[in-house]
């Protein structure tokens, strides 16, 4: 059994130690808000926060989490910055199909936690998640709005 703290709750999961955190969240814990897109840390749909930093959970072995706190999209509105990001996302109407947006919201939250007033360059550096619907400009608008 591997201990794993997600959104403040500690679970003990019976999986192989090298299981990617993504599939523990989705299949073992039933938290499907975090998405599988590519499995090779390219697209960012699986982004979660590990101790407040954006992490691509599809390439993050569950046994590497250790005592770190994992935050997923399911709890993002409980975070003050995350809640602001969500409001901005809704207000700008950033999503289209929405599949990548859990990861985008998590990446944006991590960015604003680290850099409360990001420049366009900060946004470009931090927001590397793919969006097949091409919502990149709307996402940048939403981040600027959330930053205030």
């Amino acid at each position: 059994m591997i201990p794993l703290t997600v959104n403040g709750t500690t679970h003990h999961v019976d999986v192989e130690p090298d299981t990617p955190l993504l599939f523990v969240l989705r299949d073992t814990l039933g938290m499907t808000g975090t998405k599988y897109g590519c499995g090779i840390a390219q697209c960012g749909a699986c982004t979660v926060l590990v101790d407040g930093e954006a992490m691509r959970s599809c390439q993050f072995p569950v046994d590497a989490v250790g005592a770190s706190q994992v935050t997923t999209i399911e709890a993002i509105e409980e975070d003050a910055v995350g809640a602001r990001v969500v409001e901005a996302w809704v207000s700008v109407e950033a999503p289209q199909c929405g599949y990548c947006q859990s990861g985008q919201v998590m990446a944006a939250t991590a960015l604003l936690k680290a850099v409360p007033k990001p420049t366009d360059e900060d946004i470009a550096d931090a927001m590397t998640n793919l969006c097949r619907c091409g919502t990149y400009n709307m996402i940048a608008d939403a981040i600027r709005q959330a930053a205030g």
Binding site: V15, E16, T19, P20, F23, R26, D27, T28, G30, T32, G33, T34, K35, Y36, G37, C38, G39, I40, Q42, C43, A45, T72, I73, E74, I76, E77, V86, W89, V90, E93, A94, P95, Q96, C97, G98, Y99, C100, Q101, S102, V105, A124, M127, T128, L130, C131, R132, C133, G134, T135, Y136, N137, M138, I139, A140
Partner: protein, 742 residues
């Protein structure tokens, strides 16, 4: 039409996935707005007689449920996949029903003849959803409102004409009484609907035509949106598959089955039609196990439609298109092109090429199947046409269509991905595995399996030749297109002509007054699984045509804007678009010009896809050998719109996908196999390459056109034309990443 409606769907797994009887294409297209795609998609009502009696889009209870709290639940003919159709339906119905769209929830309806509202059929595609259903859905809302008022009149014992409605309430002004729709719905929807209920005066619209807030934004911003891949059932097994290395080959045996079975969580190991599969208690365990499978596979055939040969390559396929010496058929003929070439001052010619493309939607395909105790089958799967999947799944399961229940969750992107493409869909695997295990099974394709097995936008090649007159205008245009489109592949039996509309659209029916034209098409099938892809034939053909039109302009010493204006002098609608895009971009300037010490230029292109009209300008430069697109301006005329905010975002989305295809995307076959298996090497547009996008909507009042696809085709040639002006090098082959600009 009747023959068409009763046409049987073919069994899954065959190359030609749907066969159908004859269809009066002319008759149908006349009704549906001149696009062929929709004509090609059969519905398969379980009882044709039922369908004949029922008028789709009219039976209120099939579409609307009004809950006690007054909220409205819509069962929509269409699936939401980012295009905003759920919100558009709520606006259209809500306007006439008199309920604020914000109180709507919208889900995709199960199969049923009520929902065949797209020219008598049902699908979410061809940019048809809004334009095909808008009049019907307005009428449905108005009919429901009248039923609610009639029920209220009975309940209040007053004359119906003393009642009014206001946002979900029926009001009796004289007595000050009111009844909520939620209180009335049960009695109201049991009434016979009235015929010819008057519709609201468009001048009084509160929601149609307004940028009403989308209904799905909060769920999609908080992870609560549920897609097919997120579905769960009690006692479900997860399945992962590995497909044949060569398309069309089959697994014969597994050498290490005992070893695979012994892996953690593994339930069972299976040989499927074209794949090996492992069922396990989590998808990750299933996937790890399936990747250790050592299988014997059949040898690939030398050639064929259902099979990719060991020596097949996309480059070889292109050469085959070039070498084609078979029959060609006129796709568009006007005047006497041959004579015009004979006397021409100047002749130019060029070959244009576009590659195979993957859909690359972010949600990997999945399918969840469960056989119920009563022998029925339930399927949860991404799909753009529930009745088609119902028919095909029934055939795969050996059931009647009525015994198959299709659930259509929202789509994590589609772009044409979720039609039936034979072995290009996972649901036959889910059905086979649920049958074999006696348990519910969810199959998910890994991203790698998806890139290797997605059905692809066909590789295409056209040869252009123009005669330039002494006036600098094109006197004649010849185009030779060789290849195959998805309509010809899947619905060829319905085409009344040997010309595949999906292979030549964007080359024919262009609006320019070129007096002599001779476009021909020759069919050369692809030995790979081909697909519809956002804007279908327009996705490459408008690039070809509009690029070559700039070559004509250059050869005739004309400015590209001036040339288009000259050739469109008699089309007010197109001139208005050119005016609009010119104004939006701050005035036409082709360049090249300098910005921050770098050379930039602008390119112009027009397209007429899916009943809409577009004019697009792109500003581009080459920086350190790489193409940089700075701004894209689009003037877009779909006739009229339901939600301008959604329309603008759909156009911006189409710009992104068009630019992605222009710059980066190609599915490359080498030695019978696809080269790229994930986004690391199959590059799609990232934030770094996203230009500023500026969209203006023109509502010309022309018949309503499509929205989801039409923003795309103009982008590629606008970028190509800008690069040609900036560098002097003309991009004639996509993607442009393979070109070296100096």
């Amino acid at each position: 039409m009747k023959d068409f409606l009763t046409a049987p769907a073919a069994a899954p797994g065959s190359a030609v996935i749907a066969k159908a009887g004859p269809l009066s294409r002319r008759g149908f297209l006349g009704a549906a707005g001149g696009l062929a795609l929709v004509a090609m998609l059969p519905v398969r009502p379980s009882r044709a007689e039922t369908a004949a009696k029922l008028v789709p889009g009219t039976r209120v209870p099939a579409f609307l449920e009004i809950r006690p709290d007054g909220s409205v639940h819509v069962l929509s003919p269409f699936v939401e996949g980012g295009q905003g159709i759920a919100t558009g339906m709520a606006q259209t119905i809500g306007e006439e029903l008199d309920v604020n769209p914000a109180r709507f929830t919208v889900d995709c309806a199960p199969p049923g003849p009520d929902y065949a509202v797209v020219g008598g059929m049902r699908m979410t595609g061809g940019s048809f959803s809004t334009r095909s259903s808008y009049p019907l859905m307005r009428r449905l809302g108005a009919t429901a409102r009248e039923m609610l008022m009639r029920a209220a009149a009975t309940r209040l014992d007053v004359a119906q004409d003393t009642l009014t409605t206001e946002d979900g309430q029926v009001l009796h002004a004289a007595s000050g009484r009111s009844l909520g729709y939620g209180e009335l719905a049960e009695a109201a929807f049991a009434l016979e609907p009235a015929a010819d209920v008057p519709l609201r005066d468009p001048a009084t619209f509160r929601w149609i035509g307004k940028p009403v807030a989308r209904l799905d934004m909060r769920d999609k911003s908080t992870g609560r949106a549920v897609y097919a891949i997120d579905q769960k059932l009690d006692g479900m097994l997860y399945a992962a598959v590995r497909h044949a290395e060569y398309f069309g080959t089959k697994p014969l045996s597994i050498r290490n089955e005992a070893q695979v079975r012994a892996m953690p969580g593994v339930h069972s190991v299976h040989l499927l039609e074209a794949a090996v599969a492992v069922c396990a208690d989590s998808w990750w365990r299933a996937r790890k196990a399936v990747e250790t499978v050592q299988a014997e596979w059949s040898e690939p055939e030398a050639a064929g439609l259902d099979t990719v040969a060991k020596d097949f390559s996309s480059e070889g396929m292109l050469q085959a298109l070039r070498d084609y010496d078979g029959e060609t058929h006129p796709a568009e003929t006007e005047g006497d092109a041959a004579a015009a070439f004979t006397g021409a001052d100047k002749v130019i010619e060029a070959e244009y090429v576009a590659p195979y493309l993957a859909h690359g939607q972010l949600e990997p395909p999945s399918a969840m199947a469960r056989f119920n105790a009563d022998g029925t089958l339930e399927l949860w799967l991404p799909n753009q046409a529930p009745e088609m999947f119902q028919g095909s799944a029934a055939a795969a399961a050996g059931l009647e269509p009525a015994q198959v229940r299709i659930h259509s969750p929202m789509l994590g992107g589609f772009f044409g991905r979720h039609f039936i493409y034979g072995p290009g869909n996972p649901y036959p695997q889910a059905i086979a595995l649920a049958k074999a295990t006696g348990m519910p099974v969810k199959v998910i394709w890994s991203r790698e399996e998806e890139f290797l097995n997605d059905a692809v936008r066909p590789l295409s090649m056209s040869r252009f030749r123009a005669a330039i007159g002494a006036d600098g205008l094109p006197a004649a245009l010849e185009v030779r297109t060789i290849g195959e489109g998805p309509i010809g592949r899947y619905f060829g039996a319905m085409l009344q002509t040997p010309v595949d509309s999906s292979a030549v659209e964007g080359i024919v029916e262009k609006p320019y007054a070129i007096p002599n034209r001779a476009m021909v098409f020759g069919k050369r099938p692809h030995p790979v699984n081909i697909a519809f892809w956002r804007s279908v034939g327009h996705s490459m053909n408008d690039f070809f045509y509009e690029s070559f039109l700039d070559e004509i302009a250059d050869a005739g010493g004309q400015d590209p804007m001036a040339l288009r204006r000259a050739l469109l002098a008699r089309s007010a609608r197109h001139l208005a678009l050119l005016d609009a895009v010119e104004e939006l971009s701050g005035g036409w300037k082709r360049g090249p010009f300098e910005v921050d010490g770098r050379t930039r230029a602008r390119g112009l292109a027009m397209a007429s896809p899916f009943g809409s009209e577009t004019a697009t300008i792109a500003e581009a430069s080459v920086e350190d050998g790489a193409v940089k697109v700075h701004d894209v301006w689009v003037a877009f005329d779909p006739g009229s719109v339901v939600n301008p905010a959604i329309v603008k975002k759909q156009v911006e989305s189409a710009v992104a996908l068009g630019l992605s295809a222009a710059l980066y995307e190609e599915v490359v076959y080498e030695a019978g196999r696809r080269r790229d298996q994930n986004y690391d090497t199959y590059t799609i547009l990232t934030r770094d390459d996203m230009p500023r996008v500026h969209v203006t909507i023109l509502e010309s009042g022309a018949p309503m056109g499509g929205v989801g696809e039409p923003g795309l085709p103009g982008v590629l040639p606008a970028v190509g034309n800008a690069l040609a002006a900036a560098t002097g090098q003309r991009p004639r082959r996509l993607p442009m990443k393979n070109l070296s600009f100096s």
